[in-house]
C-alpha cells in the first residue's frame, strides 16, 4: 500500500499537468494561430462592433427580420437578480424546455405560438421548427420552409417584393453536408444581415 503512494501522487500530478494544463494551453495556442476566427467564437463584426456569432442564434422580434425558433433559455431578472425570468437566446445560459410529451404546458405553448403564426400567414401550414424549442435555446438555424413561411410578413414590413425574398431564402439555404448529413437549413443571423445589406444597397 505504502509503496503505491508515491506513484499515486507523482503520476496523478504529472498526468494532470500534462492533460489539464499543457494540452489545453497548447491546443489554445495552435487553434489561435490556425483558425483564429473559429477559435474566438466565429464572431461577426459590423462597423467595428460585434453584432453576434455566426453560430449562435439571436432573439428576433421585429417584423422586418426573419425570426428564429422559440428559445427556452432564462436569465436573471433585471429588476431582481435573485429571480430568473425567460430570456430567449441567452448565450451565457444554454438550455432546453425539457417539457415532456404528455405535459399540457407543451401543448398550450405550441397552440398559442401556432395561433400567432397563423394570423401572420393564414394560408400556409405552420412549420414544426417554428413552434418547437431547440435543445440549446441558441439554435442558429431554421428550416427553408420556416423561412419561406415568414416571407409575406417581411415583404410587407420592408415594402419588398415577395419573389425577391424567396430568392434570398434559396440563396441562403445550406444543403445537407455532402448531400447526406444533417438537414437543409437557413442561418437566421446570416439571412438577416443579408436583408439589411440588401435594404442598405437599395
Amino acid at each position: 500500500m505504502l509503496n503505491s503512494l508515491r506513484p499515486a501522487f507523482v503520476i496523478v500530478v504529472l498526468l494532470t499537468a500534462l492533460t489539464g494544463f499543457a494540452y489545453p494551453l497548447a491546443m489554445t495556442g495552435a487553434a489561435q494561430v490556425l483558425f483564429p476566427a473559429q477559435a474566438n467564437g466565429s464572431l461577426i463584426e459590423k462597423n467595428g462592433t460585434v453584432v453576434g456569432s455566426a453560430l449562435i442564434g439571436q432573439a428576433f422580434t421585429s417584423d422586418r427580420y426573419f425570426h428564429g425558433r422559440p428559445s427556452a433559455t432564462t436569465g436573471a431578472d433585471p429588476a431582481d437578480a435573485s429571480k430568473t425570468v425567460p430570456q430567449p437566446y441567452n448565450a451565457a445560459n444554454s438550455m432546453g424546455s425539457n417539457l415532456g410529451p404528455t405535459n399540457p404546458a407543451l401543448m398550450d405553448r405550441v397552440k398559442a405560438d401556432m395561433a400567432a403564426l397563423k394570423a401572420e400567414n393564414p394560408g400556409a401550414a405552420v412549420p414544426t421548427d417554428l413552434v418547437t424549442t431547440s435543445a440549446s435555446g441558441l439554435d442558429p438555424d431554421i428550416s427553408p420552409e420556416a423561412a419561406l413561411f415568414q416571407v409575406p410578413r417581411i415583404a410587407k414590413a420592408r415594402g419588398l417584393d415577395e419573389d425577391v425574398l424567396r430568392r434570398l431564402v434559396a440563396h441562403e439555404t445550406s444543403e445537407r453536408t455532402f448531400g447526406l448529413l444533417g438537414e437543409p437549413r437557413v442561418n437566421v443571423v446570416a439571412i438577416n444581415l443579408a436583408l439589411d445589406r440588401f435594404a442598405g444597397a437599395k
Partner: protein, 569 residues
C-alpha cells in the same frame, strides 16, 4: 423515417466496423509495450514519468495490487478536482469571476468525473471557471477514461494468461493509455473541431450588440480541447449546460457525425484487442456482433418513435416528427442516433434533450443504461461489463448441456459466476432502490418538472444514469439539491467501484487458472449461436429486472399519450 436517415445510420456503423481492427491492432501493440510509430517521441516522456513516480514498468501487480493502485489514483484525482472546484474563485483563469462551487455540488461533480459519469448538476458556462474546466474536468476526462481501459486490459489478461499471478501494472497501463492512445487522438481531433467552429480561447465571454440592438453575452472558452476527450473517452460532461446541443460544442452536421463515431471508436476497438489477446480475433467480432444486434434494434425504435412524433403535438397539426428539444442542423435522425449511441456507450453527452423525447424514444436510452452499458459501452467499462455477461451466458450454456462451462480456454466455476452476478446485481439495487426512495420521500418529488408518469421517468433516469456512470439526464429534474447531489454521488460511486472490484477479482482468479485446450465438446464462442445466447441472456437479465419500472414510466406514458391523455401539475 427516410432513406437518407437509414443511410446515415448505415454509414455510421460501417465506419465503426472499419475503425475497430485499426484501433484494436494499435492498442494491442501499445499495451504489450511494443514499438509504435509514436515511440521515438513518447518513450522518453514515459520513461521520465516512471522514473519520477518510482515505477518499474517490468514489475507487474496482482489483481489486488492493481485494484489498490487504481483506488489510490482515484483518491488523488478526487482531491485535486474537489479542491479546484472549491477554490476556483481564488485561482487564476476565471475571467467571469465565478464563485466557489458549493460543497454538495462539488462532491457530486468530483465523484461524477472520477467515475467517468459526468453528470451535469453544474451549469457549465454559468458555474465553472476556465481553470476548473481544464484542470478539473478535462484532466479527469483523460484519467477516468484511461482507468477504464486499464481495467478492461487487466480483465482481458485474466483470460489470455495461464497460471499467472499478475494482471499487469496499473501505473504503466494508465500512463501508456494517456500518452499513446488518448492524447495523440485528441490533438488532431481538437483542431478539427476548432475548424468546424468550436471556440478554443482563454478570453472572456463576448458582449455583442444584436441586429435588433439588444445585448447578448456569448459564453466562450477552451471548449474544443475538452470536447475532444469528452467524446473519445466517453465522458460526456459538457463545457456548456446544453452539452453537445450547444452550437459551440457541436456546430455542424459533420462535427456531430464525427463526434458520434468518436464515442464508439475506442470501445469497439477494445473488442478487437480482446480477440487479439486471447488469440482468436473472431471472439472479439462475436462480442461486437452481440453489441451490434442490440444497438441497431435500439436505433430503429428510437428513430421510428421520434420520426412519428408525439401524439399531443401531432393532434395540433404539426408534422415531420418530434422537434421539441432538438437542434435543426441535426434533425430527427442524427438526434435519435446520438441518443442511442451516448447511452449505449457510457458517454452521456446529449445533442438533444432526452426529457422531451417521445415516451418510447426516451425509453431506449433508459434500457441501454439499465443493461449496464455493455453495447460497446464506456471505454473499458463496456468491455469488462460485457465480459461479465459473457461469464453468465457461458454458465447458462453449461447448465443447459451439463458440461463445465469454458470461455477462451478458461473453466468458468462458482467463484467466477458469483463475482459476475455480484457486479451485475449492483445495478438494479442502486437504480431501482434509490428511485423507490426518491418517489416516496416528502419533498424530493418536487424536483420533477413534468407531472405524471414522465416525472417518474425523470427520477428513474437520474439514478439509472448515475449508477451506470452515463451522465445524460432527463434534465427537467432539478437535481441540484442536497438530496439528489448526495444520493446521485453514492449511486455513481457504488455503480463504478462495485462493478470494478468484482471484475478485478474475476481477472485475478481467471489469470491463475490453467488454459484448457479446446476439444470437440467445447462450445464454439465465435459464431451465431454464441451471439444469440449472449444477446438472450443480456435481454432476459435486464428485461426481467427493469420491466416493472419501465411499465410505470415510459410504457404507461406512451399508452396514455396515444389515448390523448395529458398530465397537468
Amino acid at each position: 423515417m427516410t432513406p437518407n436517415g437509414w443511410i446515415q445510420i448505415a454509414l455510421f456503423c460501417a465506419i465503426i466496423l472499419a475503425l475497430t481492427p485499426l484501433l484494436g491492432g494499435y492498442m494491442t501493440r501499445v499495451f504489450a509495450g511494443e514499438r509504435t510509430f509514436l515511440s521515438p517521441v513518447l518513450r522518453p516522456i514515459e520513461g521520465a514519468i516512471f522514473a519520477l513516480g518510482g515505477v518499474d514498468p517490468k514489475r507487474e501487480q496482482t489483481w489486488l495490487g492493481y485494484t489498490l493502485a487504481m483506488l489510490l489514483f482515484h483518491v488523488a484525482g478526487f482531491l485535486i478536482l474537489y479542491a479546484v472546484l472549491r477554490l476556483q474563485d481564488l485561482l487564476p483563469l476565471n475571467p467571469q469571476e465565478m464563485a466557489a462551487v458549493p460543497p454538495d455540488l462539488s462532491l457530486n461533480t468530483a465523484i461524477s468525473f472520477i467515475t467517468n459519469t459526468n453528470w451535469q448538476n453544474y451549469g457549465g458556462e454559468s458555474t465553472l471557471s476556465y481553470l476548473a474546466q481544464m484542470l478539473g474536468l478535462t484532466h479527469q476526462n483523460f484519467l477516468s477514461a484511461a482507468t477504464g481501459i486499464a481495467l478492461a486490459l487487466a480483465l482481458i489478461r485474466g483470460f489470455s494468461r495461464a497460471s499467472a499471478q499478475t494482471v499487469g501494472n496499473f501505473w504503466v497501463d494508465v500512463t501508456r493509455c494517456t500518452l499513446y492512445v488518448l492524447l495523440p487522438l485528441c490533438i488532431p481531433y481538437t483542431l478539427f473541431l476548432v475548424w468546424q467552429g468550436i471556440p478554443q480561447t482563454l478570453g472572456p465571454y463576448v458582449d455583442a450588440t444584436t441586429l435588433e440592438g439588444a445585448k447578448q453575452t456569448i459564453a466562450v472558452g477552451p471548449v474544443a480541447s475538452q470536447v475532444a476527450i469528452k467524446m473519445l473517452g466517453t465522458n460526456g460532461g459538457g463545457f456548456f449546460n446544453a452539452n453537445a446541443a450547444h452550437p459551440f460544442e457541436n456546430p455542424t452536421a459533420l462535427s456531430n457525425f464525427v463526434q458520434m463515431n468518436s464515442i464508439f471508436a475506442l470501445g469497439a476497438g477494445l473488442t478487437n484487442v480482446f480477440g487479439r489477446m486471447v488469440g482468436d480475433e473472431r471472439k472479439g467480432w462475436a462480442i461486437l456482433a452481440a453489441m451490434g444486434v442490440i444497438f441497431v434494434a435500439g436505433v430503429a425504435v428510437t428513430y421510428w418513435a421520434e420520426a412519428a412524433g408525439t401524439p399531443g403535438l401531432n393532434a395540433l397539426g404539426l408534422t415531420g416528427g418530434n422537434m421539441e428539444g432538438k437542434e435543426l442542423r441535426f434533425g430527427i435522425v442524427a438526434s435519435a442516433l446520438f441518443a442511442v449511441i451516448t447511452t449505449a456507450a457510457s458517454c452521456g453527452a446529449v445533442n438533444a434533450m432526452h426529457d422531451s423525447f417521445t415516451a418510447l424514444g426516451g425509453m431506449i436510452p433508459l434500457i441501454n443504461m439499465e443493461l449496464g452499458e455493455i453495447i460497446v459501452g464506456g471505454v473499458g467499462a463496456g468491455m469488462y461489463g460485457m465480459l461479465l455477461f459473457v461469464v453468465v451466458a457461458m454458465f447458462v450454456a453449461g447448465l443447459m448441456v451439463g458440461r463445465t462451462p469454458e470461455y477462451a480456454g478458461k473453466k468458468i466455476e462458482a467463484k467466477e459466476v458469483k463475482m459476475a452476478m455480484l457486479a451485475i446485481l449492483v445495478l438494479p439495487l442502486m437504480m431501482l432502490g434509490w428511485t423507490a426512495v426518491a418517489t416516496v420521500l416528502p419533498g424530493t418529488v418536487a424536483a420533477i418538472s413534468n407531472p405524471g408518469p414522465h416525472g417518474f421517468s425523470e427520477i428513474l433516469y437520474a439514478f439509472t444514469s448515475a449508477t451506470a456512470n452515463n451522465g445524460s439526464a432527463f434534465a427537467g429534474l432539478s437535481g441540484n439539491t442536497p438530496f439528489y447531489n448526495v444520493t446521485l454521488a453514492v449511486s455513481m460511486f457504488i455503480g463504478r467501484f462495485m462493478m470494478i472490484v468484482p471484475a478485478m477479482a474475476l481477472a485475478g482468479s481467471l489469470a491463475a487458472k490453467k488454459t484448457v485446450p479446446a476439444s470437440a465438446g467445447t462450445f464454439p464462442t465465435h459464431g451465431g449461436l454464441f451471439v444469440g445466447l449472449l444477446v438472450g441472456v443480456i435481454l432476459i437479465v435486464g428485461g426481467l429486472t427493469f420491466f416493472p419500472a419501465l411499465a410505470l414510466g415510459p410504457i404507461v406514458e406512451h399508452l396514455a399519450a396515444v389515448a390523448g391523455q395529458t398530465f397537468g401539475g
